[in-house]
């Protein structure tokens, strides 16, 4: 089989799982970045130095895992991009951190209460660029330039016969304040000035969705990654969750679907209480990506007829467990979640995951 044929086969397999049909086998998508650096013996500081470098290293790592892997979540690492989603500084290896320490969100209150008004008056785009450059010293223009090479980065995987699962990335708008204001201050704002927060979020939402539509039209992705990471049900009372998380999550997912892609809902933390809400989204058009905190069996029970499920081999297992333990867990979910499953780690593979454990996870699908 040529790489192009292999790629077509993998895309068709993924499409079947998303459409709730039965695939020939469970797809394996690796959600990884820093792990690839360790795997390839590259220092994290070197890895993070540019999106191009991240892409090179990730392509080599995926190839070394073998053709049984269907693809990778993203064409480059997440470290450099966090400020765009969380409005917070990120400490990077080789800069604020030692060469081989994983990047770290540096959460503190940088956005002020007055910034809500500025956003409402002036709009989000203008505010964001200035904020990132002036308040968090983010190399905004250089990042935009690098992101402009997105298609080349995707091609590097596809030419090797691996798909890039969700080349377009979005986050629900509440993340900008959860990060920029810091989570405790944001929570206080929801308590004291909820109407103002909502008005500002509505402004961000309108602009973000317009940009997202353009991106989907440009890249024509099969799947779009949508992260409401700090939106877990466990963090909000039902009323606040509905108003400040679900409203934006649902609207953004609907836009993704309207533009012809599937929505990968990146669900970190405990969302058990609100699983029923996800039935409001169109059937066969979404993937519930769990980090393992929301129980995958519960998700299958509530949403198995409605959407695919991606996960959820835990970072504890891949870094501390043995290949036999990893194989046993991965095989169990392949069997029990059945045609709904896209096999993956629960959230990103940690940099200290053992290579033999990642191989054991893949072999639950491809055979040992």
């Amino acid at each position: 089989m040529t790489n192009a044929e292999l790629l077509a086969e993998k895309k068709a397999r993924l499409a079947k799982v998303i459409a709730l049909e039965k695939p020939d086998r469970t797809p394996v998508i690796l959600m990884e970045d820093s792990f690839c650096a360790v795997h390839m013996g590259v220092k994290l500081s070197d890895f993070c130095s540019s999106l191009k470098r991240e892409n090179e290293v990730m392509v080599s790592s995926v190839k070394a895992m073998g053709p049984g892997v269907d693809g990778i979540t993203a064409p480059y690492g997440a470290g450099n991009l966090f400020p765009l989603i969380f409005a917070t500084k990120v400490k990077l290896p080789g800069k604020e951190l030692p060469d081989n320490t994983l990047w770290q969100l540096d959460e503190r209150e940088i956005m002020t209460v007055d910034d809500y008004d500025t956003i409402i008056d002036k709009g989000w785009g203008a505010f964001q660029r200035q904020y990132l450059i002036e308040k968090i010293n983010y190399p905004f223009d250089s990042m935009m330039e690098q992101l402009g090479h997105g298609q080349e980065f995707i091609n590097n995987f596809e030419e090797a016969g691996y798909l890039v699962y969700s080349p377009v990335v979005a986050a629900t708008v509440n993340e900008q304040f959860g990060g920029g204001r810091s989570l405790p201050k944001f929570m206080r704002d929801l308590f004291k000035i909820p109407d103002k927060v909502e008005a500002a979020l509505d402004v961000i939402q309108a602009e973000t969705v317009a940009v997202l539509r353009q991106q989907i039209r440009a890249f024509k992705p099969q799947v779009v990654f949508l992260s409401p990471a700090r939106g877990a049900s466990a963090f909000f009372s039902p009323k606040l969750w509905e108003r400040f998380v679900w409203k934006y999550l649902k609207a953004t997912a609907e836009v993704i679907i309207e533009e012809g892609a599937a929505a990968d809902l990146h669900i970190d933390g405990d969302w058990t209480r609100d699983l029923e809400y996800f039935k409001e989204l169109p059937k066969g058009k979404c993937i519930f990506e769990t980090d393992g905190t929301t129980d995958i069996y519960k998700i299958k029970e509530v949403l198995g007829d409605h959407m695919a499920i991606k996960g959820d081999v835990s970072p504890v297992l891949t870094s501390l467990g043995t290949p036999d333990e990893v194989y046993a867990y991965a095989s169990k979910i392949v069997r029990d979640i059945g045609p709904n499953l896209i096999l993956s780690s629960g959230c990103s593979l940690p940099p200290n995951a053992k290579v033999e454990n990642v191989k054991a996870m893949i072999s639950a699908v491809t055979g040992r």
Partner: protein, 207 residues
């Protein structure tokens, strides 16, 4: 090695409390280590603690919090191998539920005699946090062996401390509950009792 796991919402006063606990442990001449498993703003002043003979180790996670518990367990095991301390104090991230951390430590941790869970609650923000994130705060409190109701100085004499204590008692009737202000001097008897319970009730050995 006895582990004291300190959890509680962001900004509740975990680090402030740990500083005094650390001082107490140092005075008891036991070997002790602190792990900061934190993404917050105010870190432990490790120079102060290093002067006092303490080891402080920071454990940080990249993608929000998903790899934190594994990193934490690896840190615990390397501390056990390197220092073999009598006490290990762990400050967890304010968004963590202790049960997950304890589960991982129980499965993969080495040299652990006991894990004692202390939840720090911000008394002044209790009504607000219970309205905004009732599930997380209740889950944290329900897993506590000891609930420290902190910042009682911010409630004021006509404040609602009694109501806060009653609500905590409803969530967790098993835990000991101690109101205090960690920003001021904490009485030594509180730490003595804490350590005694953390050892499972046996006498404080001279170590």
């Amino acid at each position: 090695m006895y582990i004291i796991l300190i959890a509680g919402f962001l900004g509740s006063g975990k680090t402030t409390f740990i500083r005094q606990l650390a001082q107490y442990l140092v005075n008891q001449h036991g070997k002790a280590v602190i792990i900061e498993n934190e993404a917050g703003e105010v870190g432990i002043d490790d120079q102060f603690l290093a002067r006092e003979g303490f080891q402080v180790k920071e454990v940080m996670g990249g993608c929000i919090c998903c790899s934190l518990t594994a990193d934490l367990t690896l840190a615990v095991n390397s501390i056990e191998a390197e220092f073999h301390p009598d006490w290990l104090v762990i400050e967890t991230t304010g968004l963590a539920k202790p049960a997950k951390v304890i589960g991982t430590l129980t499965s993969y941790g080495q040299g652990i005699d006991r894990i004692y869970t202390v939840i720090i609650v911000d008394a002044g923000r209790w009504p607000e946090l219970m309205e905004i994130m009732p599930q997380l705060i209740s889950a944290q409190v329900s897993e506590a062996d000891l609930v420290v109701v902190n910042k009682i100085d911010e409630i004021g004499p006509d404040g609602d401390l009694a109501r806060v204590l009653a609500e905590i008692g409803e969530i967790n009737g098993r835990a000991q509950v101690i109101p205090l202000a960690a920003a001021m001097q904490i009485e030594e008897t509180i730490f003595r009792g804490l350590c005694l319970n953390a050892r499972g009730g046996s006498e404080d050995s001279p170590a």
